[in-house]
């Protein structure tokens, strides 16, 4: 039996390296925020991200002055970079909720060290996503017309339009994600309040901790609320990208109207979301020496999720191609032909390589634990998922039914600046987050320690 126990132990890396106690976990995580001096690397990284975020401000400012004519959108390609980026960012946001809600319900305790920053990442990604439709409406100062509110003009949004469903889906998602993240933070904010020596920090963390004293009753209420929010957030993981897919699939444009879109969009969202989680987790664990908490097990499991969702995405591509032939519909067949042979064929081939071919190396067990390899594969997947949305939005629109209304799409410098600017905004927010909030959930990590085990 002893041999077997040993074998089992070797079977998988632990979710937390041995040798830690309650005290060392709290020290390690809270010191990053409270006692560790801010490194020069942080300033440089934040500075670069901040500058990029400023290009966003510049690009959006110019947009407000001149209108969306400065972008590459035209007739027939009315949806360009803005919608591509919107879908891309919203998709990335999915990993946070999946990790924090669905994996909680599935009792996957390995989620405990990555849920906090995955949720933070979700919020920032949703914020970046939300910018695009707002600045795309043309008169952003009237963007509140998207909401149904009683008004003297008697103007209501079209409730049959998936665009208005999107408004509800995304705003619900943002609200629940924020609440979930904040509720999860409360016990840790109290820890920071108690441990910080700076009066101002004590006050800020104290206000945010909302009087948390860690009594049994607090914990009871907390657990109930957290589980309920997880239950609420779970359908949102599926619903948000489903509604985004409806934006396309309800239309009759070839390449948009296909019934597989809802599940296939959700799988793609989780795919890119885990890629982003890995791209952030790998440098963070290195820089802050968190290898004990974000172990090989986390990398391995995230890689497996990527492999599985990547295969579902591949299945979606294959099935679309199959239907292009099987349906016998001339326009569907042409859409497929155009992707393979048209002016954007290189995008399509790059998409297949990034999203399907390269990630298959994740079948190799050794590669799933190599941080550098995973970092690059994740980058490739993020590029691939961006290309996927480009194919869906731009390539479908540029040639549809009538040859007289074909066109081409050329992104302008403003398109690029806006896109890169949101990446800057996202990274700047992440830099601030790791500096001022505990990026790993302290108390949830402590539940994983041998000390926390209850003797039956």
């Amino acid at each position: 039996m002893d041999d077997r126990t040993e074998q089992l132990a070797k079977n998988g890396a632990p979710v937390i390296e041995p040798g830690h106690t309650f005290a060392t976990v709290t020290d390690k995580i809270s010191s990053i925020v409270l006692t560790r001096p801010t490194s020069n690397g942080w300033y440089v990284g934040f500075g670069i991200a901040f500058l990029l975020a400023m290009t966003l401000l510049f690009a959006v400012g110019y947009l407000f002055a001149r209108g969306i004519g400065i972008w590459g959108v035209n007739v027939p390609i009315g949806w360009g970079f803005a919608i591509v980026n919107f879908v891309w960012w919203i998709g990335i946001g999915h990993a946070g909720t999946l990790i924090s809600a669905i994996l909680l319900l599935l009792r996957q305790s390995w989620r405990n060290s990555i849920n906090r920053f995955a949720e933070a990442m979700t919020l920032f990604a949703v914020a970046c996503a939300g910018i695009f439709p707002l600045i795309h409406v043309g008169r952003p100062w009237l963007a509140y017309w998207l909401f149904p509110y009683p008004n003297s003009m008697g103007v209501w949004p079209q409730f049959r339009s998936p665009l208005i469903w999107d408004v509800f889906a995304v705003s619900t998602y943002a609200t629940i994600s924020l609440l979930f993240w904040f509720i999860g933070l409360v016990p840790d904010l109290a820890t920071l309040r108690d441990r910080s020596t700076n009066r101002v920090a004590q006050m800020i963390y104290g206000i945010l901790a909302m009087g948390w004293r860690g009594s049994a009753r607090h914990w009871h209420r907390y657990e109930t609320a957290y589980l309920l929010l997880a239950g609420l957030a779970t359908p949102l993981v599926l619903s948000v990208h489903t509604v985004v897919s409806f934006d396309f699939a309800i239309g009759i444009v070839p390449g948009w109207h296909t019934t597989i879109f809802p599940p296939y969009f959700v799988a793609g969202a989780i795919y890119s979301g885990f890629a982003m989680v890995l791209m952030l987790a790998i440098p963070i664990r290195k820089v802050y020496g968190l290898e004990d908490f974000i172990t090989e097990r986390h990398l391995q499991n995230s890689a497996k999720v990527m492999l599985a969702t990547g295969l579902i995405v591949a299945y979606g591509y294959v099935i679309e191609a199959f239907m292009g032939w099987y349906s016998g519909n001339r326009y569907d067949a042409f859409t497929l032909w155009n992707r393979l042979h048209g002016p954007y064929k290189w995008d399509y081939f790059a998409l297949l390589i990034c999203n399907i071919v390269i990630p298959q190396v994740l079948w190799i067990r050794k590669l799933r634990t190599k941080p550098i390899a995973l970092f690059f594969i994740s980058g490739v997947v993020l590029v691939g998922m961006w290309l996927e949305r480009f194919i869906i939005v731009v390539v479908s629109l540029h040639r549809d039914f009538l040859t007289s209304s074909w066109g081409m799409y050329y992104p302008t410098r403003w398109d690029w600046m806006t896109y890169i600017g949101t990446i800057g905004l996202f990274l700047a927010a992440m830099f601030l987050f790791v500096r001022i909030l505990p990026m790993i959930s302290i108390f949830e990590m402590r539940t994983l320690l041998p000390e926390a085990e209850v003797k039956e």
Binding site: R4, P235, I250, H257, T259, I260, W325
Partner: protein, 390 residues
Amino acid sequence: MNGRDFTFEPNAKTVGQMQVLAGIGAATLVAGLFFAPQRIWPNLLLVSYYLLGLALAGMAWIAIQYVSGAHWSTALRRVPEAMAGVLPLAAIGILSVLILHPSLYSWTGGVHVEGDAPGFKLMWLSLPFFRIRAVVYLLGWLGFAWAMLRLSRQQDSDGELSHTRRSTALAALFLVFFGVTFWLASFDWIMSLEPEWYSTIFGFYNFAGAFLSGLATLALLLVWLQRHSALKTVIREQHVHDVGKLLFAFSTFWAYLWFSQYMLIWYANLPEETVYYVRRLHGFWQPLFVLNLFLNWVVPFFALLPRMNKQRAGILVRVSIVLLVGRWLDLYLMIMPPFSGGKPRIGIWEIGLVAGLVGVFGLGFFAALRRAPLVPVRDPYLAESLHYHA
């Protein structure tokens, strides 16, 4: 733990009942071939495909547990393994339809393909290729089932961890193979009954239905085995509770896919797609169409929403029966409209074959379950599963 204490011996009465049901099924089939061939063939396809779904759901369950490294369910594994054991029976049913009565598929009598680029469809829907594909899918599934069950039973004698590792690798390969082939099979055997119609989500939808019916069957079998076999000491309340949660989740997943397909086709309103729903929404089809949604989602959703209900065997059994009836209705709505003319007909032929389905499944399941100890006695993760608590 001793393997000999954990062999399964169904009581003679239950076996007798299953034999009677199977006999009714066989008699209905034979009589139907003479008196109502137009009704018996599509019904035979229905029950065979139903049985196939149960067997493949058993396989998918095992594979998912291996791949995700789940250990809570190890002690229960023999139950889905025995479900997978009915795969050969399902294969016989499917093949007999495809070989003996291919004219069930209207395209075999010269394809009248809609659309203006029919080349691929003519090639894809040609009888020899169609049959070769069926054989490939079925042989592939049987091969995987044989290999995975063999590894699991070998472990009973030597307790090697390497069997678990090999099963995990095999399970991953199976899931990829299954994903592609089950999708194609659902297109081939069900969707092509109306060859002009197509929907890309159809494979997903069929998987969700099959897996949901598999889960409902698993819940029923667990409760039954808890009362009538040595598994009484093995199955804990938490195991049943978790199966209840999965039922709830997959019922909702099924409804999600149902809605996605229906809403997208309704919204785009293209005649070549809406024809499918038009056929299912007029006359007496409409109440069945609505009932389908109730049986497969509305009832299970509200019945299983409270936590207490997911733990209570009585409620799980009732919900599972509702879901299994719902699965039959779902398949009936997918298969029958082109054959049944203007109105649905449910009579002696349908009921007789359903009785046969229950009997054949029961007998096949018992036979498979007897072949190995009721729990994987030397699986290294068994202890963890026996002490499972939430």
